[in-house]
Structure formats: structure tokens, C-alpha cells
Amino acid sequence: MSIDITVKIGGEAGQGIQTMGHMLALVCREAGLYLMAINDFESRIRGGHSFFQIRICDKPVQAPHHKVHLLVALNRETYDLHKGQLASGGRVIMDEIDGSGEGDLIALPFSELAKKAGGMIFANTVAAGACLALLGTPFELFKKVLSKQFGKKGADVLEKNYYAAELGYQVVKEVAFKWSFEWRADKPKGALMDGSKAIALGALAGDCRLAAFYPMSPATGIMTHLSLLSDRFPLIVEQVEDEIAAVNAIIGASFAGTRAMTSTSGGGFCLMTEGLGLAGITETPIVIVNAQRPGPATGLPTRTAQGDLHFVIRASQDEFPRFVFAPGMPDEAYEITSRAFHLSEKYQVPAIILIDQYLADSMYIAQKPYVAPERIERFIAQDDDMENPQQYKRFAVTSTGVSPRALPCAGKALVVISSDEHREDGHISEAIPDRIAMVDKRNAKVPFMIKEMNPPKEYYGESGTLLVGWGSTEGAVKEAVDRLRDEGSDIGCLNFVDLWPFPADAAVDALKKTKQFLMVEQNSTAQLGQLLREQTGFVHSGAILKYDGRPFYPNEIVDGVKKYVR
């Protein structure tokens, strides 16, 4: 890669780190560059320490980089904490009131300039200006982005921002920066996308009409996005009293005929497990997004993890089919979400989308345009489809396990549903044949569901060693593979997205090609590794596990692999 620069902006919560990061991202996108940015913040509103770290490339990029080329230190602490990550030749820009003198440090009069521009709220723009100037960004490009950002706020605000930007540019005019590069005026490569937004859009593409939820990091972003869009669609986003209400509300909505979803994280998902079982036994389609964070319990609310795989595939008492998907990147999250609505309704089972804080809150450039489906295939039975609507049986036994699903009050067919075990007509039954028929009916769906599951994604799948991961680690794992291959290793990877019902045959086909495989997971017990053994008999020969709440950097995987592979 010719351009591969990481800029990190650090400071206290409330200093506008994300706003500034967003500005940089927009500028890069506008210039036709690729980027990938992570958001690191504490569970508090002001103070503490957070950062936004953006990696700017001229090729697609899907993981953060562990070395920082340019550090924007909005306070002294940031400098102290992160200077060790500087690439050799890397520089730090910091307000001169926070210190000066160190060789790598460019101390600048940010506050002074901000005040000159009109007040401290312009400090971000000044800093962004300085930062972009160092990178060699044409000033016009920054102006263009500023005008898009602040145009609506009136000429005065915009002018002041222009001026602040200019001040930032000028103050570093004389400073040389090793990674300054020539910006070509290319057109944007794709939308600026984070996992939360991609899922919100995917929900619309799945024709979701009720989103009921209770706020919980890192799942709230999805609902914020949906909420802002809700006036343009037949969509209600309703914040309810607790997660139990959320899951039951979406079951009610789905029963009544609209597609519905909720999003939550671990503790909230716990509270939804009984409802999950209700969807299971009543065969009501619903979509639940579980955005993972480290646990147990409250854990680390704003951090990332992959610790819930085992839990979600087995959550709720007794047995019933469900789908579980773990998309790797926003583009895939969009597709998976819309597909989850489709499959959930097709098979009348709950679908769970497992993401994590890393995917939810990180920014990517979408690699393809998102396409709205032409039409939504519904799987609803009308009176007209029935021989005799008065004889309608909601749980009629069929060879596929899927019964024609009518909606309440939509015709003559009465829809009778019970959370107790039931007869075909939906009324409670404790009779042995009814119980067996219903368990068998629900289980009968599984083989058909498995046929819908995609195999794990292979990347150099024929290699002697495979790294095996799932969900959001895909980007980091692939980059690690690239680097190791560059060093001459015979290595590839497998990324699992469609996780349940487990595509065991496909997994066997993929695993049997390799001599050994290593798990790469963000948990402490290699949950997918255990599942692979259970489902295929294949045993991983090692695992690179990270469970400190921070995402994988490709180099950590490279280093981890080297412990196993020489």
C-alpha cells in the first residue's frame, strides 16, 4: 500500500473527539480514499480518556493499525498514554498550554486560535485543519466538507469554521510531516458506514416496521439511526420500559403482521430469553440484534467482545430452531439484517444477529452500493389461500414444519396461539401425540434452515494452516493472513457468518482441506472452537484469544500465530 496512515485523536469525553474524527473521515471519503476508524470511549459522559483512531488508505481497509503516524492530543494525558504507539517519524500535535519541547511534539496555540476564530467550540476545526494540513490535504476539500456539515447552520457559523480551519492550516504551514501525500481528486468509493447504521438500513430493507427497545450500549446506536429515519417509513421506533417489554412487543407486532425487531446487549438479552422461547414455541418471526460487550453482567459497557456465542445459540429453556448470524463488516451487516427478516419470516423462527461494539461503532467505507430489495416476499396466508378459513389451524403439521401463517382479524380464519404446548389448532394440549407432533414439527425445519446457511468464507482456504474466526474479526484476520503470506507462511482463514443452525457439512469440507487450524476469537475460551469440535469433531490446535475489551489489531494476530507456526 502506498498510503496507509493512522491518525489518532485522543482526549476527554466531551471534547468533541468524535465530531473531529467524523470530519476527517468525511474529508478522506470525499477524496476517494478508503478508511477504517475505531471509537474507543469509556462509560461516562465527560472526562476520562477516549480516542478516535482513523486509518487512511488508498486501498480498501478493514482493520485498525497498531502504529500511529499522527497523534492529535487534546490533552496531556493523551500524549503520555499513546506516544509509545507512534511510528518512527510519527508526530503529535497538542495545544501548547498542555506542554511542549519533546522532539515528536508539535505544540500549537489551539485555544488561542480557536478564540480568535470565535470561541472554544472552534477548537476542533482548528485542530482538524492542522491535522489535514500536515497530511497535505487541499484546503478546498476541507472547505467542501465543512460546508456540507455546517451549511445548514447559517452563513455565520460556516464562515467562522472556514476561518478556524484556515488558522489550523496556517499554523503548521512550516512543519514537515513524513507521511504527507498527494491527494488525488477521486470520487468517493462508497458511503461512510458504521455497523449500527448498516443494521438500521438493513432493517428497513427487511421491511421492519416496529423496533421496540430499551437503551443499552452498544446496541442503542441502531435504534438512534432508525429513530431518525422513522418519519420517512411505515416504522415505529418505541422505547419501552425494559427489555422484557421490548421482546414481547415485537412478538405482538409480528403476530399482528408487521416485521419487527429489537436490539440489546448481554444483560438485556438475558431478559429477552424467555421471550425468545415464546417466539420459538409460537413460531413467531422476530429479529433480535445482540451487540456484544464484555461481561459478565454490566462488565465493560462501551467495550467489545465475542463472549455470547454459546449463550445465544442455546438461550431459553428446551429446544427450538433459531437462526444466528454474525456479520463481519457493515456491508455484510446490511445484507444479513435484511436476510434475517426474510428467513425469520420464511421459517417462522426467531433470528439473532450477533454483532459487537467494535462493529457497531467503527466506521468503514462501504464497498458496494446498498440496494433496496424490489419487493418484500411475505409468507402470510389469506382466507383466499385456504380451503375453509373457518377450519384454519395455525400449527398444521406439514412436511417442512412450516404451517401457513394467517394474521389475526384479517379474515374469517381465527388465529389461536398459546405459549403452552398445543394442538394444530393452537389450543393447549397435554396429550402425548400432540407434544411429539409439535416438537417434531419444529425440529423438521432444521434441515431446510441448514440449506439456507452459507458456508464459512474462505480466504486462501487451501493453506496448511487456517485461522478460524467469526463475525467482526474478519478484517483483522484477513490482514494478518496477508501479512503472514507476504512473509512466506502457508496460511489462510475461514470466517463464519452463518452460525446457527450450524452448517456442519460445509465446515467439515472447509476444515478437512487444512493440516491445522487456529481459532481467533474475542473471548477467553474459544467458543467457536468448542462448537466446531461438537459439530464436526475437528479440534483446533491453538487459539489467539483477546478478551480485554479492545478490538484485534492485525499485528496481534500475526504475533499470536507465530507462537504456533514457525
Binding site: I244, G252, A253, T258, V371, L414, G426
Partner: protein, 283 residues
């Protein structure tokens, strides 16, 4: 024309002979018939318990859901299709115990549905433990030294939270109860009817006779249910005289009316529009 027999279920009743639930069931049928609601136009949502089995013993659309969770499920259904006529059958344990939080927030939300709480002051289906409404001191196999918490007053809580239709019925007075149900269903907004219901198997204190001696009819007293303070007083009246009737009634904008997108009709009837979505995707 709708007749009582339209509501006859072929499914066999499972309640104890003499149970107060029968009176509620009959009063419901009376009200539905007099409102001329067809079974196929009615949705009943219920939780789990003896009370919650009610819809099985009628003919209608029904969702017999989880213990304590009827209200949020009904709310979701109503949001999806606000044309639905929804009745909720719940028990005192179902609604005020396991489901207590939803009870409060359903009131705040003022969704247009009618909630019938079959208040037998015991957990019937699980064999007679105390419920949140059991009287202080009531002895059960599980509370051998008697209940030591104050009984839950659903009517008072509903009033405190601004409920617009708050009533108490008695399953031993079918005509009166059916009137309450009728008025509750006609009310635009959330309506609560807490129903004194004898449980012949587990509640030997609050029997038919116990209630008959005490219940007095607010309709007969020409009580005007328009004053919150009076209503609150009546909600607390318990002992020798217990008022039955509508304690409080005040219509206000219900939930669905506040949601602009529902002006275009129920969510389920609106069209999916790929162009509109594509515009957002391309933005």
C-alpha cells in the same frame, strides 16, 4: 347480528366448577354481543394463569402469551395494527406481580385496549400461594404464618399514574360487569377493570358471599366518575363496603394518535416502497 353462540368455544373448559372466572367469561360474551363485535374481529391477549386461559374458552383470535407479559405483547400488536380491538385477560399475579412494570407503563402509554384483571387474590393455577393482592395475614400453604406485605391496590396505582378509565367489577354480578366491559371497550384509551373474582379452590376468605355482602354499585349511587380525588378515595375503600363501577373516566389522546405515521393507516396496511428506501440508501 352477533349472538352469544358465536362465541361458544369447542375447546373444553378447564376451570374448577363454581369458579368466579365463569361469571367473567359470560359477562365478556354479553358485552361483545351487545357491542356487535364478531369473533373474527376480536383479539384477546392473555398472560399465564387461570384467568389467562379465558380466551381458550371463547371463540376469537387469541394470543395466550407468557406469564406477566400480556400487556407489552398487546401493545406491540396494537402498534402493528391499531384497528385491532384488543381485550387483555390477566390475573392478579400475572398483572400486578410478574407483570407489574408493564402494568404501570401501559397506563403511561395509554394504548387503546381494555385490561381485565381477574383478581382472585391468589395464585390459582400454581395452587394457592399468596398473590400481590392477598390480604395481609392470609394463610396459605406457602405463607403458613400469613402474608406480611400490604395488598397491592391496582386501582389506586392506575389513578396515580393518570389512567383514563378505572373500574372495579365483581364476577358475581354479570350484568354490571358486562356493562363495565362494554364501557371499557368503548373508551378510547387504556381501560382497567379490576374484577373481584372468587376462587373456590384456594381463597376461603374472599368468597362470593363475602363480596356480595360488601359490594355496592356506583351506577346506582349516581356517582360521577370525573373527580380524581373522589376516585382515589373509592379506590382505597375496602372492608365493609366495596364500591363497584367506574371510579374514574377521563378521555385523553391515546398513544396511536400521537404517532404521525399512523395517520396513513395501520402499519400492516402500508406499502413497502423500494424507491423511498433507495433514496435513503443513496443519501
Amino acid at each position: 347480528m352477533v349472538g352469544i353462540k358465536d362465541y361458544e368455544s369447542l375447546y373444553k373448559n378447564q376451570w374448577c366448577p363454581g369458579c368466579g372466572n365463569f361469571g367473567i367469561l359470560e359477562a365478556m360474551k354479553d358485552a361483545l354481543v351487545s357491542l356487535e363485535i364478531l369473533p373474527e374481529k376480536l383479539l384477546i391477549v392473555s398472560g399465564i394463569g387461570q384467568a389467562a386461559k379465558t380466551p381458550h374458552f371463547l371463540k376469537c383470535n387469541m394470543f395466550h402469551a407468557l406469564h406477566g407479559r400480556a400487556l407489552p405483547l398487546a401493545t406491540g400488536a396494537k402498534l402493528a395494527n391499531h384497528d385491532l380491538k384488543i381485550l387483555v385477560n390477566s390475573g392478579d399475579g400475572d398483572c400486578y406481580g410478574e407483570g407489574g412494570n408493564h402494568f404501570m407503563h401501559a397506563i403511561r402509554r395509554n394504548v387503546d385496549l381494555t385490561l381485565l384483571v381477574h383478581n382472585n387474590k391468589t395464585y390459582g393455577l400454581t395452587k394457592g400461594q399468596a398473590s400481590p393482592t392477598s390480604d395481609f395475614g392470609m394463610v396459605t400453604p406457602m405463607q403458613p404464618r400469613g402474608v406480611i406485605s400490604e395488598p397491592f391496590n391496582g386501582l389506586a396505582v392506575a389513578l396515580a399514574l393518570g389512567a383514563g378509565f378505572v373500574a372495579r367489577g365483581f364476577s358475581g354480578n354479570r350484568e354490571h360487569l358486562s356493562r363495565l366491559i362494554r364501557e371499557g371497550m368503548q373508551f378510547k384509551g387504556f381501560s382497567l377493570i379490576d374484577i373481584m373474582q372468587p376462587c373456590v379452590s384456594f381463597n376461603r376468605i374472599n368468597t362470593y358471599n363475602w363480596y356480595k355482602k360488601r359490594a355496592y354499585d356506583l351506577f346506582e349511587e349516581d356517582y360521577m366518575p370525573d373527580d380524581l380525588e373522589n376516585a382515589m378515595k373509592l379506590a382505597r375503600q375496602w372492608g365493609d363496603r366495596i364500591p363497584i363501577g367506574v371510579l374514574y373516566r377521563k378521555e385523553k389522546q391515546n398513544f396511536a394518535k400521537h404517532i404521525d405515521v399512523l395517520n396513513k393507516g395501520p402499519l400492516i396496511s402500508q406499502q413497502y416502497d423500494p424507491a423511498r428506501l433507495q433514496a435513503v440508501l443513496d443519501a
